[in-house]
């Protein structure tokens, strides 16, 4: 690897050839501020915040795109550079909706942070109120273009990372804006709700559709029994909302905090992750042994399911008929739990806490309703939970560790790793191995771990060869599906997560500042918390959980039984690319 030598603010530094000035500066411990740069997603040199002076160059150059060169002399903080950044910020502020106090990104907004640092005067350049229309048509998110700074990170995420491409730049010059074709509302497009656009946005232009009020109202309603349950990856990320280092497992405090919001019960969604595995492993073995549709694809990711419905409706028979853990929990609560505890299901208000925005659509799916009511009433993102905890004045970091409520407290490590890409696959393989082979040794399937976009492996279990693939990020999902359609790929079982890295990097997760996420591997650190939890648990396999025994003995009979099918399985809806 060829190394080159240059100076950043007089500091000598050595970096691999091909590095940018931005990367070279970081190597010299010099932070250059950025706005439109997002590592591996967007590098276009548009915002002009990262401008620097380079000896011999004409004008100021953008550090994020400019290649570092041997002998280069870079100056990142001269008066000319600082004046330029300040003016750029003032120009952005001149037509930015400045309602910072009520904006959900207050204190976590890149524009606000930089403007404060540079003392930008928001009124310097004839501020205008743009009054652009707000798009809140979809159940997942709200786009407010009055806050958009045209960084294009959302478009890059949707087009390049997710290959969904339902948003793009429209018109040019000052009238340029991001939206869907013909400025149609997002709900009328093939948007899958993955929320990668939200977590790419440096400001408050994109936020999830808030369900907080509904939850507060239900908690305050004496008639309602409010039940919260939390997805596996929340324990690994909620702490970031309160200043904890990335990858801190805050399960105990998470339960304590939710309890103090006032619901009646706090349950562990890892339980229905286990339930999903039991049902799905059963379904997989059945398909393999009786010539069912293969490969079978996981169906716990609602972003992937919607993607399949829009872009590959012919592929729907490949999806497992299992509902997602969230939806299974809702079904279990409104049937088994309600009956057992003599509660009228219409008085149950079920709230899931999930790392996901696509699940805000999943809860509205008509095919998944139980009679008159939805399985789950509200899907709340990690960020929304963080806001509710702050609003309630709870000091998260000083809470004691508490445990989930009975009977939905105990789950296996296999359930916990659902949040990482490859986790569902590994959990399913553990249970399938025991079913086919009577044992599973070793318990770790390391070939499907890690943040690589597509992972493949072949396992032989009880004489059965199972070729598997794991993909995260929808562009990778598309590659796998296209490969199967062309006959180039041959698998029995495929796990798809819409979000790169899996749910730990979901559209509902805390948004880290650019200075962290452009240089820190969030996916690996957050996933590690889950794998560490798994390896420290007594129960490592889904079917071992006593809660499984309870559910099947008392209600569902056995995996794949008629009652299990009625409540725990679903069908899918072929949708076109264009929703007219």
């Amino acid at each position: 690897m060829e190394m080159i030598h240059l100076k950043i603010n007089g500091i000598p530094v050595e970096v691999p050839a091909g590095s940018t000035v931005l990367e070279a500066a970081k190597a010299a411990n010099v932070d250059i501020p950025t706005l439109c740069y997002l590592k591996d997603v967007n590098c276009i040199g548009a915002c002009r915040i990262c401008v620097v002076e380079i000896t011999g160059a004409r004008g100021l150059v953008a550090a994020c795109t400019h290649p570092a060169a041997e002998g280069m002399e870079v100056f990142t903080n001269t008066p000319k550079v600082r004046k330029s950044r300040k003016t750029t910020l003032e120009l952005l502020l001149s037509n930015h909706k400045k309602k910072c106090l009520s904006c959900v990104r207050a204190n976590n907004c890149e524009l606000q942070k930089l403007s404060v640092a540079y003392g930008a005067d928001e009124d310097r350049f004839m501020p205008e109120e743009m009054n652009k229309p707000i798009d809140d048509s979809s159940p997942f998110l709200v786009r407010d273009n009055n806050k958009c700074i045209q960084c294009m990170r959302c478009v890059a995420a949707c087009k390049n990372v997710q290959s969904v491409s339902v948003i793009g730049n429209i018109r040019r010059g000052f009238n340029v804006h991001v939206g869907s074709a013909f400025d149609a509302p997002l709900a009328s497009t093939a948007c899958v709700g993955c929320g990668q656009c939200i977590v790419s946005c440096p400001v408050g232009a994109l936020t999830e559709k808030s369900s907080e009020k509904k939850v507060w109202d239900a908690i305050a309603d004496p008639e309602k029994k409010v039940i919260f349950f939390t997805a596996p990856s929340i324990r690994a990320t909620l702490g970031e909302e309160f200043g904890n280092p990335v990858g801190t497992n805050v399960e105990g405090k998470m339960v304590a905090a939710i309890r103090r919001l006032g619901p009646d019960q706090v349950f562990n969604m890892d339980v229905t992750a286990d339930l999903t595995i039991v049902e799905e492993a059963n379904e997989l073995i059945e398909r393999i042994t009786t010539g069912g549709t293969l490969p079978m694809f996981t169906s716990c990711c609602p972003g992937w399911v919607k993607f399949c419905e829009h872009f590959y409706p012919d592929f729907l028979p490949h999806l497992s008929s299992c509902k997602s853990p969230q939806q299974m929990f809702g079904a279990v609560l409104k049937s088994y739990y309600a009956q057992k505890n003599n509660i009228d299901p219409k008085n149950l208000f079920v709230v899931s806490v999930i790392p996901c925005t696509a699940k805000k659509f999943e809860v509205t799916r008509e095919e998944q309703r139980e009679g008159d009511f939805d399985d789950v009433d509200v899907a709340l993102t990690t960020r929304e939970l963080g806001r509710m905890i702050r609003e309630a004045g709870i000091d998260f970091n000083s809470l004691p560790d508490e445990q989930f409520d009975d009977p939905f407290e105990t789950a296996s490590g296999a359930g916990a790793i659902f949040g990482a890409t490859g986790g569902v696959m590994e959990a399913a393989l553990r249970t399938a191995a025991v079913k086919l082979d009577g044992k599973c040794e070793p318990l770790e399937f390391t070939e499907v771990r890690g943040t690589k976009g597509i992972k493949e492996a072949t396992y032989t279990v009880g004489g059965v060869t199972v070729k598997v693939a794991v993909a995260s990020g929808l562009a990778n999902a598309r590659e796998i599906v296209e490969g199967i359609i062309k006959g180039e790929k041959d698998y029995q079982f495929v796990e798809i997560m819409a979000c790169p890295g899996g749910c730990i990097n979901g559209g509902g997760q805390p948004v880290q500042s650019d200075s962290v996420r452009n240089f820190v591997d969030l996916k690996t650190l957050r996933a590690k918390a889950l794998y560490d939890a798994d390896s420290s648990m007594k129960l490592r396999m889904s079917h071992e959980s006593p809660v499984m025994d309870m559910l099947y003995k008392e209600f569902f009979e056995k995996p794949g039984a008629h009652k299990a099918h009625e409540y725990l399985h679903t069908t899918y809806v072929p949708r076109g690319k264009y929703q007219d």
Partner: protein, 378 residues
């Protein structure tokens, strides 16, 4: 282009033509077809073993696509947004391949230079600007059209001899070169030789060779506003300094020509101009402030008149004009009052009439109707 392709080993060329020139496109297509017939394009040209062909690609109404990286992005089928450089097109250009990109005028010179020799070409022009340049001469000038002149010809020669002088005996005020990216050359510099360096030294540029002559009836603040209107329309919107900066510059100029200008607006204009020149992604943003800076430099008094006195000396900016009837010239014929669309003129027959400036919409109909020259603009 074929010679250039041979020099660098390229096999595919493209000509990017503005769609507003359908005649040029049609003729170019004929020329390309004829060249192929003669074996000057295609496989094994002139039996020398070199393959080269040319495709026409049309623009679709975007000035920014004259910027080289935007042009390449447009040929690639995208929105014509410029790309950061480096990497330069010669390293990573069209479809990611090393690309040689030049103006038609540059390529057109190649054949002559090779045929008649470099010494012949260098004999024309100045030390640093060799050969000839084509200009589009227009505006307040008797002879309009395309002129090809040796570099170093003075502006005076172009205006007085080649251009035939300013019509109606009006006074020469300024010549704008380089279009919306350029600046103006005022009357005191009329003896400037036209070449790359001299124009740059005066705060202007050669650009695409536009040379627009202006006279005493042009308001230089209005002229820079016209150019900013153009750049606001043509900005691609990708980078902050240009997308927002051009709009803010235009708003400041509108403020000034509307009679609402303040002295600190000039400071803001200067700051914006410096910022856009140093920090814009491409030359459109970097050069957008040039007309303003240039007119401020040479016609600063005009700006001050607009701001301090709320007056437009050239009589162009409507909001700063007042139409007035000169009492001792007015015969009271009532023609103006009868034609005024706003009913702003009062007066009785054979008596001097008066314009109510609050009602006046400054359309000028009264002045063009008056047979006695009794109505003036001030």
């Amino acid at each position: 282009m074929t010679i250039a392709s041979y020099a660098v080993g390229a096999h595919q060329g493209y000509v990017y033509v503005r769609a507003e020139y359908p005649v040029a496109v049609h003729r170019l297509q004929i020329a390309l077809d004829q060249a192929r017939e003669y074996g000057l394009l295609g496989k094994n040209i002139l039996g020398k073993g070199h393959d080269f062909d040319i495709e026409i690609r049309l623009g679709a109404g975007a000035f920014v696509c004259g910027e080289e990286t935007a042009l390449l992005t447009s040929i690639e089928g995208n929105r014509g947004e410029p790309r950061p450089r480096p990497p330069f097109p010669a390293v990573k250009g069209l479809f990611g391949k090393p690309t040689l990109l030049n103006n038609v005028e540059t390529y057109a010179n190649i054949a002559q230079i090779i045929r008649k020799g470099a010494a012949w070409y260098s004999a024309m022009g100045t030390e640093k600007s060799k050969g000839t340049k084509v200009f589009a001469l227009g505006g307040k000038i008797t002879n309009v059209g395309l002129v090809e002149i040796p570099m170093g010809t003075t502006l005076r020669e172009i205006i007085e001899e080649i251009g035939g002088g300013i019509p109606e005996g009006k006074a020469f005020k300024a010549a704008q070169t380089g279009g919306p990216s350029g600046g103006c050359i005022p009357a005191q510099h009329i003896d400037t030789p036209i070449d790359y360096e001299s124009l740059a030294a005066l705060g202007s540029m050669m650009g695409s060779g536009g040379l627009i002559v202006m006279d005493e009836d042009n308001c230089m603040v209005d002229v820079s506003k016209f150019y900013l209107n153009f750049t606001v329309d043509e900005s691609c919107g990708k980078c902050t300094p240009c997308r927002v900066g051009t709009r803010k510059l235009l708003q400041l100029l509108e403020k000034i020509t509307d009679g609402k200008g303040e002295m600190e607006d000039l400071e803001k204009i200067q700051d914006l101009a410096t910022h856009m020149k140093s920090s814009s992604l491409c030359a459109l943003g970097q050069s957008a402030p040039n007309p303003v800076l240039s007119t401020l430099q040479y016609f600063g008094d005009e700006y001050l008149a607009h701001i301090k006195d709320k007056k437009c000396p050239a009589g162009v900016c409507k909001n700063l004009l007042q139409y007035e009837i000169v009492a001792d010239k007015c015969k009271g014929c009532t023609l103006c009052a009868r034609n005024c669309p706003a009913g702003a003129i009062t007066g009785t027959v054979k008596n001097p009439h008066v314009i109510d400036t609050d009602k006046c919409i400054k359309c000028g109909v009264c002045m063009s109707n008056c047979k006695f020259g009794a109505i003036i603009k001030k």
